[in-house]
Symmetry: C2
Subunit: 166 residues, 2 copies
């Protein structure tokens, strides 16, 4: 080991057992994290893929297909299937780009914003309850660990979005 002066007691949080607990906590918590939106989505014959698309289009109105692809980390064929149904159902509009006509700028319609609101309300309610139960210091730690767990390219997207004004 020979980690220097911080060895011993101070590094007990890095034992395999502690790490395993973190892994299992992550697994169980993610299930809770998605449970409420999933219920709403299943009523509408949508899935998580639709939720993710709606969320990030809502976050960045006018975003392009390519940008969405790099955020979501799926293939264009997979995203296209989802976008097509959302456009057909009138939740999303796709406009030819002004400066570059190859691009498509994506926006939520009124109806799309309504669903986005409904989904994020459900998810925020749970998040708010968890935050309130854990307290501000815990929340800060929560965010720190999550950020350290991201892949670098996703972390870039996260930072870019984190600091954007609503």
């Amino acid at each position: 080991m020979a980690e220097g002066p911080e060895s011993g007691q101070a590094l007990l949080f890095l034992t395999d057992d502690q790490l395993r607990k973190g892994i299992e906590a992550m697994f169980f918590a993610y299930r809770g994290f998605t449970a409420d939106p999933d219920r709403i989505l299943s009523e509408l014959a949508y899935g998580r893929a639709h939720h993710r698309a709606i969320h990030f289009i809502g976050r960045s109105p006018g975003t392009t297909v390519n940008n969405l692809l790099s955020i979501l980390g799926v293939t264009k064929q997979s995203l296209n299937r989802v976008l097509r149904t959302l456009i057909e159902d009138g939740l999303v509009t796709s406009e030819v780009g002004k400066t570059d006509k190859r691009e498509r700028n994506l926006y939520l319609t009124e109806e799309g914003r309504a669903l986005e609101q409904r989904l994020s309300d459900a998810q925020r309610d749970r998040m708010r309850a968890a935050y309130r139960a854990a307290g501000p210091e815990a929340v800060a730690g929560f965010r720190q660990v999550l950020e350290a767990m991201m892949d670098e390219d996703l972390h870039r997207h996260y930072r870019a979005m984190k600091d954007a004004k609503v």
Copy 2:
């Protein structure tokens, strides 16, 4: 609001914007969380469902199909398909229950333990790096928030497993 003396400054961490950041952090971090095992699994033509089964069988040797079902939250038919391939491939053994012959007790084989080790090593490496970067206080907060985010029935499973000795 009228939340009492802790209103104002101290509740800024509960704003919608803070909650949104937490939601997006959760989304991006979970991708990182599963990225390393996913790479290993794809080499072997397995998926996350196989990983989850292997993980929880390894954690609770002799567990029954029913118990695994309530942990994983899928249908028994879905789990069965995964278990069948793992058994065919010699990673898991299924033994008829001693007291109740309807039950099947599940165990990892030597080979199954080897894969479990390989997968959890990869996942632990990332978790360890994140923990080390964030520090012990952050890790405590991380775990607190995650636990508060779980559904109650999953939280029960988590607690039961959390305190079990390896």
